[in-house]
Amino acid sequence: MQEIDRRVIYALLWIGLLLPLVKPLGLPLPISSRTKQCFEYIEKNIKQGDLVLMSFDYSVGPSPDVHPQSFPVLEHLMKRGARVVAISFQPTGPMFAEEALKSQEAKGKVYGVDFVNLGYLAGAEGALVAFAADIPKAVPKDFRGNSLDALPIMKGVKNASDFKLLFTLVAATPGIPDWVRQVQGPYAVPMLGGVGTQIAPMSEPFVQSGQIKGLLIGMRGAAEYEKLVQMPGKSLAAMDSQSIGHILVVTFILLGNIAYLAEKSLAKKRG
């Protein structure tokens, strides 16, 4: 069994993941407590006109895992009447922010009034510190080339403490720890997070300690949020596939281990 061509496993994964996408199985999707915490925090605390800072800190590689979270979250924030300021500390972030924000622009939200994209700020954690301390100084112009003074949404915004909520979407660095130590802690801004699945275990202790109020984890988190805001999208449609994928991987691991142990025991018997 250990000599099976790896391409057989690839083919099984392709078929196993594709079939539920073509013909959904309708498996139940319970909402995790972390996603529920995010939804409930926004529902209870965000009111008409509140200013929310949303960071898009992920590159192209992990984007399929994190980017889908931005759409239902933005939808929820906008439905609550929040005004959203987007910022990125990853070079590709503004591109993703534009795509997500344009989905709201298409629904009638106005650039510069309901939302703004401040673009990318180089310098990772150092830039985060400078941005949190003095926003107009760190970002004199937005991603579309407008001066911040000309944007009604930025009127009176000086530093990070002017935001009612920070929602950071991250996949690597700057990540949850960077945002917690440079913004959430020093400026006492309530924080929610959306993370790539791989970095979820490292982000979880910050929820446990109460430093962040909720956490969306990967595509699954996006799917759960789509369900909560009743905005079914690609992530929700992918959940059957995700479950089948996990079943396949667990099966492969079990079969591999059984084969390994069986061969070991046979070799022992043979002496």
Binding site: D65, Q211, G218, A237, A238, S241
Partner: protein, 201 residues
């Protein structure tokens, strides 16, 4: 089935297939897609970097803000490492970057990642979750005791608990990793069979 007429989708789909062709074996389609990806990523990052320098340092300097000369010169000095005789100059901005970086991190790390995290482990032992967190942390800490007395039975037991706790944590990390990889693959299937070929509705 409704095949896309969007050229952007066609390009993404063909490059995606090029990358996945590696699963069969290394081939020119894979290499082409890989090189395009690396080139685009590097080009995009460079354009963003240039735009940042222009907007934040060069333009203010042109408007008379002479203080911007300092970051510009320090930035240029980083490239001195390519000049054999002047390579030592690159150490100046590098040392500043390291010093400031460490200082900036240390500013917040003590409270957010030490005191607050310690506080989060001081829990009433009235639930299974709290017991796992409390004894798991104690166990992990005792695993990293490398001093005299480490052979005492209590420490050895704690160390064993720590080892199992860490193994469970690493297992969770691997599980999350697999979940993440499957998500990435599903999104590509959605691109190929949904956006491109129109088989997935």
């Amino acid at each position: 089935m409704r095949i896309s007429t969007d050229p952007g989708i066609w390009v993404s789909a063909l490059l995606c297939l090029g990358i996945y062709s590696f699963l069969i074996k290394e081939n020119p389609a894979y290499r082409t897609a890989e090189h395009i990806f690396v080139g685009l990523a590097a080009g995009y990052s460079m354009a963003m970097g240039v735009s940042n320098v222009t907007q934040k340092a060069w333009n203010p300097l042109m408007k008379g803000d002479v203080s911007q000369i300092i970051p510009l010169v320090l930035g240029l000095l980083l490239y001195a490492r390519f000049l054999k005789d002047l390579s030592w100059l690159a150490r100046i901005p590098l040392s500043l970057l390291v010093g400031i970086g460490v200082g900036v991190v240390m500013r917040g790390v003590v409270v957010s990642e030490f005191i607050k995290q310690l506080g989060a482990t001081m829990l009433p032992l009235n639930s299974i979750d709290n017991n796992i967190i409390f004894f798991g942390v104690l166990g992990c800490l005792s695993y990293f005791l490398f001093t005299k007395g480490v052979k005492s039975s209590a420490i050895a037991f704690g160390s064993r608990v720590g080892r199992y706790t860490m193994m469970a944590a690493f297992g969770a990390a691997v599980g999350n990793n697999i979940q993440g990889r499957i998500s990435l693959f599903i999104s590509q299937l959605q691109l190929l069979f949904g956006d491109w070929l129109g088989i997935i509705k």
